[in-house]
């Protein structure tokens, strides 16, 4: 798996008397998409917040690109980007201004050019000079992810990136994520949608009751669990298939 981008050992965290993480271990390699799958309250966001230096763990070790999240937070922050549950954009600024602001904060050499090329890459060029609060949900998320790419961090955390998005926008985000990992970025993705983990993840960790109960590739997980059964069933289109078919290839203007 080449270099290790993230390594987590025995991570624990409690809030008041509620034990959220009871010893979580996993590793993520460069260019790998790792999905943390779990129901609400399973500790996905807490794990991401610890790894992105927002929350201090009670116990255990976590390293990002070899830097300890507690002892070397400054170096960790240079190596990561967090895309939280809500699109963290300034609605009063235009898409372009949002990108330039982050580029300046990250100390990127040419903020304006950086913003321009990201707008191109995320198909936001036409909307570049419109205020971001006028964007659709999918566009906001794309801008949000584009902002996270500035400074080419080695690790990107995506916390429930498609929650609240319509099916079309969800697919847009999926394509973006696949492209990112292709470029060598390690991605930690949290999701409660099984389909999303199946679509995107190289490896999946199932977080339940404060521990990672299973980790593996989709095919490994499939092997562990009830053997495949051969059944003959009529393939009905899912509602999603129908929905996407009806609206066709509608492009965002």
């Amino acid at each position: 798996m080449g270099h290790t981008a993230i390594s987590v050992r025995g991570l624990t965290k409690s809030f008041k008397d509620k034990e959220v993480l009871k010893g979580v271990d996993f590793e993520v390699g460069r260019g790998e998409i790792f999905a943390l799958l779990g129901s609400n309250g399973a500790g996905k966001t807490t794990t991401v917040n610890i790894l992105s230096t927002l929350v201090k763990p009670d116990g255990g070790e976590a390293e990002i690109c070899g830097f300890d999240v507690q002892r070397q937070p400054e170096q960790v922050r240079r190596s990561i980007s967090l895309t939280g549950q809500f699109a963290a954009i300034d609605g009063m600024l235009t898409g372009r201004e949002n990108l330039i602001m982050i580029a300046k904060l990250r100390g990127v050499p040419h903020p304006v050019q950086t913003a321009g090329s990201l707008l191109d890459r995320f198909s936001l060029k036409e909307a570049a000079n419109r205020r971001a609060d006028k964007y659709s949900g999918g566009m906001k998320r794309r801008l949000d992810i584009a902002m996270s790419l500035i400074g080419t961090p080695a690790v990107i955390f995506l916390d429930e990136p498609t929650t609240g998005l319509d099916p079309e926008a969800r697919i847009e985000v999926w394509n973006t994520v696949k492209e990112l990992a292709g470029g060598g970025t390690a991605i930690v993705l949290t999701t409660q949608y099984l389909e999303e983990a199946e679509q995107l993840a190289d490896r999946i960790g199932i977080l339940h009751g404060g521990t990672l109960i299973k980790t593996g590739t989709l095919s490994e997980l499939k092997k562990m669990f009830p053997p495949a059964k051969v059944e003959y069933i009529e393939k009905q289109p899912t509602l999603e298939d129908i929905f996407l078919e009806i609206i066709g290839n509608k492009e965002e203007k």
């Binding site: 917040n49 992105s52 230096t53 927002l54 929350v55 201090k56 400054e74 922050r77 240079r78 990561i80 980007s81 967090l82 939280g84 549950q85 809500f86 699109a87 963290a88 954009i89 300034d90 609605g91 009063m92 600024l93 201004e97 602001m101 982050i102 300046k104 904060l105 990250r106 100390g107 902002m147």
Partner: protein, 249 residues
């Protein structure tokens, strides 16, 4: 590398200039109050010195700042809720620069509001013969007062659970000038009220600004005024820093 406080200050000033209504909204209540007190109640109020608008203006400016401060809480609260705060916190920038940017934004936007109110007061007959130095001193006191309240606003902006909660704390601040020497001399007040009025920060600030603008002196109360403002600022600063650290778990 660019200074993050400057970048974030630029971002917020752009936001404010794009919605100038925030400055107008903040200026309107104190202007209405000024009209009401000068043209309705003013004739019956005996302050003993010069035109009533001159007497009234310093207190009105404090009310303008106190109501403008609510927006500082609101802007910070919005940043926390929208996730922008988390984004900034996970970036390689000095964390305190985010708070300083909010405080400096408050300083600039309140200065604009104060300027609007002074312009209206000029139209209404406000005059001062103070020289530049005394004007600068008066501006300095207002600036320190704004910073003190802005750090207070940081605490509520960070800890509030709702938008209403983030702004509600400014109401008592807006009310404070009424029980002070801002509208009428404290001498006419009953003993207990007078004792309160003379020992709360607004009276010493208002009296100092009056001394600077109309008497050409720094007055006797300027040190009390500065002590209040700087005291409030230091305490709020440390409480705000604590709240900030605490919030980061």
């Amino acid at each position: 590398m660019r200074n993050p406080t400057g970048v974030l200050l630029g971002r917020m000033m752009r936001t404010i200039l794009r919605s100038p209504d925030t400055i107008i909204t903040v200026a309107i209540t104190p202007i209405m109050m000024m009209l009401l007190f000068v043209y309705v109640f003013g004739g019956a109020i005996q302050t003993g010195t010069g035109p009533y608008i001159n007497y009234l203006l310093p207190g009105i400016l404090l009310i303008a700042i106190a109501s403008g401060i609510a927006y500082t809480s609101l802007r910070l609260f919005t940043d926390v809720k929208s996730g922008l705060m988390a984004r900034f916190m996970t970036m390689p920038i000095k964390r305190s620069s985010v708070l300083w940017a909010h405080v400096l934004t408050s300083l600039v936007s309140n200065a604009l509001t104060v300027l609007v109110v002074i312009l209206v007061a000029l139209v209404m007959g406000f005059r001062s013969h103070a020289d530049l130095l005394h004007w600068l001193a008066a501006a300095g006191i207002l600036g320190v007062f704004t910073m003190a309240l802005a750090w207070l606003a940081v605490i509520t902006g960070l800890t509030a659970r709702s938008m209403e909660g983030a702004t509600a704390y400014s109401y008592p601040l807006i009310f404070l000038p009424f029980i002070s020497s801002a509208f009428v001399p404290t001498e006419t007040m009953p003993q207990i009220v007078r004792a309160f009025a003379e020992h709360q920060p607004v009276t010493s600030i208002v009296n100092s600004i009056r001394a600077l603008l109309y008497e050409g002196t720094v007055g006797s109360e300027i040190w009390t005024a500065l002590a209040w403002c700087i005291g409030i600022m230091i305490v709020s600063y440390f409480v705000a820093r604590r709240a900030f650290k605490h919030q980061l778990g």
